[in-house]
């Protein structure tokens, strides 16, 4: 009894009606959400990495630039890296202009992504609060709020009582070790269902002709006269006019294969969830000073981010004391969470750049492009990252939105130092 779906040409639209119709045929007529093709001999563009960013790149290459002879090569299963391991926060309230513009582009794409993809990515705009716990935090938070507003990004400063009103379960007692002195709030920010973002993008890209090839690991690059001509994979050599590398934690490994270095280090980033409980936490709360960020998923689980481990690692696991160390802070902020229980924990590999900002850039090899360095904040950038990377690959030059995110900033010194904004993992 083998029940593999039949590859179909046209994507079936998802809707309540289609769901009902399929119920009458016992759900036997749903096609595969994306095909499982064998690689063609060559492509116009090969995107290495089937995470959210890679799939978004392929989708926007097809949608915005009409480039459909595209393959996404994924060494495992799509969405299996950081896309499926993050805490799903989406926001754009970054301090520096370049970041705010890029993340805001991404947030705007997120706001219409369910409709655009015809896939419910459960974009939940319940608001993200970044708490301030000392005078320095307050000053920097306000700085960010004013900057956001002037950039046309929604942001508010909340006094402690307003924090409490927005999220009643937070303890704002001035007696706390690090009392809540206020917060920034981005109301349009929130969370989205991470898996659905990957799957929806895959389905939509596939529908536009993109080949998504799983279990296909890139093992080398074909480079002639300083320009890429193809990639070597566990499924054979595949020709490519252009190659985009979007592999997050493994970027250094791939770039090494292509013969150049990037200023990245890969670290474990851990996260965890509680058992599912009835809705109790209405928004997303992040705190740099006490290193906690937490939201509640639609399934009822509290989704909690732990900090980044200091050491380099590709093991997809970190040290337990990192998680444990944050529970005191969690309990301080949310005293009613004490008796709830950690159900699952996991780790991802984040690639961090020296200035905690992404690199979306041309490389020393012609027609190889990289998109990396998202550190702990990549999920929220998914569609925006794909959009500007598709543009960069298609045009051979960065879009104004990612013009500041190129590799040469490490030579010139024009860093986009978001350590303040990215001090806590998210």
């Amino acid at each position: 009894m083998v029940l593999l779906g039949e590859p179909e040409k046209a994507m079936k639209r998802f809707s309540a009606l289609s769901l009902a119709r399929n119920a009458f045929t016992h759900h036997e007529n749903w096609p595969r959400q994306w095909r499982s093709p064998e690689p063609k001999p060559d492509y116009d563009v090969i995107v290495v990495g089937g995470g959210g960013h890679g799939l978004a790149t392929a989708f926007y290459l097809a949608k915005e630039h009409g480039i459909t002879n595209v393959a996404v090569l994924e060494k495992g299963w799509i969405g299996g890296g950081n896309t499926g391991r993050n805490t799903t926060i989406v926001r754009s309230n970054y301090l520096f202009d370049e970041s705010a513009h890029l993340y805001e582009k991404s947030l705007q794409l997120f706001e219409q992504l369910s409709q655009e993809l015809n896939y419910n990515i459960m974009m939940s705009q319940r608001g993200v609060m970044n708490l301030a716990h000392n005078l320095h935090d307050v000053r920097e938070s306000k700085r960010r709020v004013y900057a956001n507003k002037l950039n046309g990004v929604d942001a508010d400063w909340l006094e402690p009582e307003e924090v409490k009103a927005f999220c009643p379960i937070i303890d704002i007692s001035p007696k706390a070790r690090y009392p809540v002195m206020g917060a920034t709030l981005q109301r349009r920010a929130g969370v989205a269902r991470h898996d659905a973002v990957a799957w929806g993008l895959a389905r939509a890209a596939d529908d536009r002709g993109v080949d998504i090839i799983q279990n296909c690991e890139v093992t080398g690059f074909r480079i002639e006269n300083g320009a890429v001509t193809g990639v070597e994979t566990t499924k054979g050599t595949i020709g490519a006019r252009k190659v985009g590398i979007v592999v997050a934690g493994h970027t250094s490994v791939l770039c090494e294969m292509a013969g150049f270095r990037v200023p990245l280090t890969s670290h474990p980033l851990q996260a965890l969830v509680s058992e599912p409980i009835k809705p109790v936490h209405p928004c997303v709360v992040m705190s740099n000073a006490v290193h906690v960020y937490v939201s509640q998923s639609d399934k009822g689980e509290l989704v909690i981010g732990a900090g980044i481990d200091s050491y380099n690692s590709y093991a997809q696991r970190g040290s337990f004391h990192i998680i444990e160390g944050q529970m005191g802070a969690l309990k301080e902020l949310f005293p009613i969470f004490s008796r709830l229980r950690m159900m699952r924990s996991w780790g991802g590999i984040v690639d961090t750049a020296p200035d905690a900002s992404a690199i979306i850039s041309k490389t020393p090899v012609d027609n190889i492009f990289i998109n990396c360095g998202w550190g702990t904040g990549g999920f929220k950038a998914t569609p925006g990252s794909g959009w500007v990377f598709a543009y960069t690959i298609a045009k051979g030059e960065p879009h104004p939105l990612n013009a500041g995110f190129t590799l040469d900033r490490f030579t010139s010194g024009a860093l986009i130092d978001e350590h303040g904004a990215a001090g806590v993992a998210h």
Binding site: S15, A16, L19, H101, N120, K142, Y146, K278, I336
Partner: protein
């Protein structure tokens, strides 16, 4: 079922200690030694909960942490706890439990209407709908879904209980106190090794507590008792009952959670409710046993359906009868023990085996016990909404993928199932251990060896007690030897009698059982993950839609995402996926096992690191004085620093103005003890400081002090402070309060790794010295009352220091000023800090000496245009940006960060530069952080950002949707008592060339015009520093 299902005798419960409890408001009685589950079963209660999606009635399937169904909300108020498994709750008198996620009641649950919608609520249905618009999702669909999701409720008040941590080490850690674990601990302990043995149950013995075996000629219960007593008596053995090892990490580090109080007894620091053990073991023996799997057939979730091993446990260990008329459905030999034991307790039993052939000795035993055996059978239906009443069986066809022949209906009130056992390999996998599928035993077993880790007994796929004991004895001894102990005599082998043989054919792999209809066409549900209501049809849909990777299937169908973490269902799920996609189970693979093995209470993980223990509070030796003076405190790193000292009725603004006035016109005093202090000694001390400061320190004369700036190698200002030359080969340098630790570490880094040939030693002396700053025109006058040292400018020049007695204390006085006023910093031994402070306060009483805090310090220094690292700077500013090129040596060939100062970006002309800012509204203090723009825009008029599109238009452009270009921001902003107006410091692009121009700070409802001026507002000529 009604009436007592408690056996008159037998089991390990204490019938002399009855316990009363309520479940969903109804009262019941159980006994000491019961779990909530066993007590309910003994009371004939099987309907415990409803499932998540369809709200199907559910009962008790298992007897431990693997049960997917029987979640309850325990207790009430602040001590309530959601989602506890009835199988894991030790019964106590007065226990109150209720079902979760039911409305209005467990018996009549409105959510059950979802069952009718089941045809639409397939795996991932929510990805396919609810998306006419983003607003519809945010405002309509999601709130409904959120309310429906989740099981129990969070408490509504802070947790009154106490939890703590303990860190221990041992030679051999044995995880699991069943036969293999006990044997391993015994053998290891015999060598004198330091042994720890943890088991999640309150009693050691594991499955031996539920089985009838003879070990070494003794009944197994007796052997357990003896072994435990022997271990308990051994000096170097630590027994941890009620303790679950939840995670194994690199280098044999384990986290284990001990439940010390299982009832409502109040906990305290002396008696915590839970303790998290952090265990570092040289060797680990994993004897965690195995988990029985259910079988996947039509409506395999009716209350009254129970795993064979669990049925045996309830019967033998708790004396609770799970049924009076039972059908056992099995694919393996091991389950027969349950049938035989039930029969021995007068339960009418039928056995339906999927296999065509069952070993002769087993059939003989069944015959002898009067049990009917039906082979080659599958279950095609189970009836009984709230309790199983009837099971329909059919024979399997020749190809064993369908059914044939007539249905047989068997009336029962208990359906016992066994699909075989899955080794509890979780901890093995936590550290990257791999698995292999063992076809003969139909389970995944550990396939990779790891130094210092041994899997034994059920964890190794050895399901008989004889194997487990033999495994344990040999592994325990070997582990001790590997841990460095002398082996001594080999432990005596122990004969075990009573096992059901476990040879070839003991199990037939059976995943999705043949049925009348394919699961997706059937009205019945073929559950795989009970808690998430994932059925075989959902897995089929996932496979059909391309989610054929096991990880995709898991995520799409939620298999294994429940609070039972898939202990029961995961293997069935992936095996069915393998079956549906035409792959082997090995090819399909498992999902990743990650900690924790069972859910862990957050409060336990926090331990005692709560309240003020969350992070150390660092205090100076003068702290108590500040507290009694009513100071408000500011957190600076871990330090508590006085922020300001309000007098009764004073606002902060008034207090700070008063403090400032005192320091400018009289005398103020500041506790400056928190600054980092490092002694730099050795003949190359000066050379070393030259390399790490931007300015020259080697030229400093003994007795002199110099201000210095440190950069990162990126050229950005990272810290500042003073260097005082104590002797030729000795300096004392200060750092910012927050930067002390990182500066010290960075300096050691340079010294040890870059310049090891320099003869320099660094010693942190931050807490050797308490420092009291006396500042203001009357500072000299005050201090002269306390010391005989001449303090006049001729005797004591600015930027020098001298040793002296101050108030009878040995002290060092520095003449430096961060306020612009005449100022002395008096340093004494930390333990003299309070005496010095009190002496200063007393001596200055008639002068109106005024203690001031960090806020006043900030105002005073800002009036002078002095920066604060971390306030004016944010890691992106060079000395030139701050107008501090005067402190950057032109003579030195190199210093840390120098090369970066000539990078293209750092020599850019439009960099932000430090300026002074005077609001046109002199009474208005602009908020710090306010952004600065050229045009007087108001924030509410700024349009929502419209990113440029595919035309690649510039971001800043004419028209709507363009951001407002920002030129900088306000870094410091205060009311100045001395100036009689507000003022600010800020960073502005090309600011130094724009003095006199106006710039704007758009705020919430107003936009404030500010004039750009020189950052020195007060006493620019420096006339006041000599008093």
């Amino acid at each position: 079922m009604t009436g007592s299902m408690r056996l008159a005798q037998g089991g390990r419960i204490d019938r002399s200690k009855p316990l009363r409890f309520t479940f969903n408001g109804k009262s019941y009685t159980g006994y000491q030694g019961d779990t909530l589950a066993s007590a309910l079963i003994a009371n004939g209660v099987h309907l415990i909960a409803r499932s998540m999606k369809y709200h199907r009635p559910r009962g008790i399937m298992a007897a431990g942490s693997d049960d997917p169904n029987c979640m309850v909300q325990l207790a009430k108020g602040a001590r309530t706890e959601p989602n506890l498994k009835a199988t894991q709750i030790a019964l106590y008198d007065g226990l109150e439990a209720t079902s979760v996620n039911v409305f209005p009641s467990l018996d009549f649950d409105i959510g059950a209407v979802n069952g009718l919608l089941a045809p639409f609520m397939t795996a991932g249905f929510y990805y396919k709908t609810f998306m006419p618009s983003q607003a519809f999702w945010n405002k309509v669909a999601e709130p409904v879904i959120r309310r429906a999701a989740g099981f129990g409720k969070a408490p509504d008040a802070p947790d009154p209980d106490v939890y703590d941590h303990c860190h221990v080490h041992c030679d051999v850690m044995v995880v699991g106190g069943g036969p293999a674990g006990l044997a391993a601990a015994k053998a290891a302990a015999a060598t004198g090794a330091r042994v720890m043995l943890a088991d999640e149950q309150s009693e050691f013995g594991g499955c031996l507590l539920s089985l009838d075996r003879t070990i070494g000629g003794k009944p197994c219960a007796e052997w357990v008792a003896e072994t435990v007593a022997e271990l308990d008596a051994a000096e170097e053995v630590r027994l941890l009952p009620r303790t679950t090892v939840t995670g194994l990490y690199d280098q044999n580090y384990m986290v284990a959670v001990e439940q010390r109080i299982a009832d409502l007894t109040r906990s305290s620091p002396a008696n915590p409710r839970m303790r998290v053990w952090h265990i570092r073991a040289r060797q680990v023996v994993l004897a965690a046993g195995s988990h029985e799997r259910p079988l996947v057939f039509a409506d395999n979730d009716r209350p009254g359906t129970m795993l064979a091993g669990a049925a045996l446990t309830y019967l033998n260990r708790y004396g609770a009868l799970p049924a009076r008329h039972a059908l056992l459905v099995t694919n393996n030999d091991w389950a027969y023990e349950t049938a035989l034991t039930l029969a021995a307790n007068d339960v009418q039993v039928t056995v339906a085996d999927t296999r065509r052939d069952v070993a002769g000795d087993l059939t003989d035993k069944l015959t002898a016990a009067g049990i009917a055996l039906k082979t080659n059978r599958t279950v095609t239906g189970v009836t009984g909404g709230k309790h199983v009443t009837r099971v329909t069986l059919k024979a399997m066809n020749d190809t064993r993928d369908g059914v044939t022949g007539e249905a047989e209906e068997i009336d029962v009130n208990g359906l016992i199932v066994s699909g075989g056992y899955s080794p509890a390999v979780h901890l093995h996998c936590h550290v990257g251990g791999k698995l292999a599928f063992d076809d003969e035993r139909a389970c995944f077993v550990p396939a990779t060896a790891r130094d210092g880790l041994r899997c034994v007994g059920g964890t190794a796929g050895h399901f008989t007690i004889a194997e487990a004991i033999a495994d344990g004895l040999s592994a325990g001894r070997a582990a001790a030897v590997d841990a460095g102990l002398k082996s001594g005599r080999a432990p005596k082998a122990l004969a075990v009698e009573g096992d059901i043989a476990s040879g070839a054919g003991a199990i037939e792999p059976m995943w999705l059982m043949p049925a009348d209809k394919a699961p997706n066409r059937s009205k019945a549900k073929f559950f795989v993950d009970y808690q998430n209501d994932t059925g075989a049809a959902d897995i089929a849909l996932a496979a059909r839609e391309g989610f054929d990777s096991v990880e995709h299937m898991k995520r799409y169908t939620l298999t294994g995402f429940g609070t039972d973490q898939g202990k029961l269902g995961n293997i069935n799920g992936l095996a069915i996926l393998a079956q549906l996609t035409g792959r082997t189970i090995s090819e399909t693979g498992t999902t990743t096992f990650r900690p924790p093995y069972t859910p862990v209470t957050f409060g336990a993980l926090a331990g005692r690191d709560v309240g003020d223990m969350m992070d150390p509070v660092r205090v100076t030796s003068i702290h108590d004085w500040h507290v009694s003076a009513g100071a408000e405190f500011e957190d600076v790193g871990q330090w508590k620093r006085p922020w300001y000292f309000p007098k009764a009725g004073e606002t902060m603004h008034q207090a700070v103005a008063r403090e400032c006035r005192a320091a400018r016109t009289g005398v103020g005093v500041l506790d400056a003890s928190t600054l980092g202090k490092i002694e730099v000694t050795g003949k190359d001390a000066g050379e070393f400081l030259d390399r790490v400061y931007t300015n020259m320190m080697s030229s400093l004369k003994v007795g002199f002090v110099r201000y210095g700036l440190m950069l990162g190698e990126d050229g950005m200002v990272s810290d500042d402070g003073t260097a005082s030359r104590i002797a030729d080969n000795r300096y004392l340098i200060t750092t910012t309060t927050g930067g002390a630790a990182s500066v010290f570490q960075r300096l050691e880094d340079y010294l040890q790794t870059e310049w090891p040939d320099l003869d320099v030693y660094l010693t942190s002396v931050t807490e050797q010295w308490a420092t009291v700053t006396v500042s203001g025109p009357k500072a000299r006058f005050l201090l002269e009352r306390l010391t005989e040292l001449p303090l006049d400018p001729d005797s004591f020049a600015f930027m020098t220091f001298q040793d002296a007695q101050v108030a009878g204390l040995p002290a060092r006085i520095y003449r430096i000023s961060f306020t612009g006023e005449l100022s002395f910093e008096v340093a004494v031994a930390w333990h003299h800090g309070k005496a010095l402070w009190e002496a200063v306060m007393e001596a200055g009483h008639d002068l109106g000496v005024t203690p001031y805090g960090t806020e006043t310090m900030h105002v005073l220094r800002a009036e002078k245009g002095f920066i604060i690292v971390g306030q004016e700077t944010d890691g992106t500013l060079t000395p030139d940006d701050l107008g501090m090129n005067w402190i950057v040596s032109k003579k030195k060939a190199d210093f840390v960060g120098k090369r970066s100062l000539i990078r293209p970006d750092t020599v850019r002309e439009d960099r932000k530069q430090l300026v002074g800012l005077l609001p046109d509204d002199a009474g208005f203090v602009v908020p710090e952080g306010a952004q600065l723009v050229d045009d007087p825009v108001t924030l509410k008029d700024v349009p929502h950002f419209e990113p440029p599109g595919l035309d690649g238009a510039p971001i800043y452009r004419a028209g709507k949707g363009s951001p407002v270009p920002m030129l900088g921001h306000v870094t410091s902003s205060y009311w100045s008592d001395a100036l009689g107006r507000s003022f600010a410091l800020g960073l502005v692009k090309r600011g130094r060339t724009r003095h006199g121009e106006t710039i704007h700070a758009p705020l919430g409802d107003r936009t404030v015009a500010m004039k750009i001026v020189d950052p020195v507002f007060y006493d620019a000529e420096g006339s006041r520093r000599d008093g």
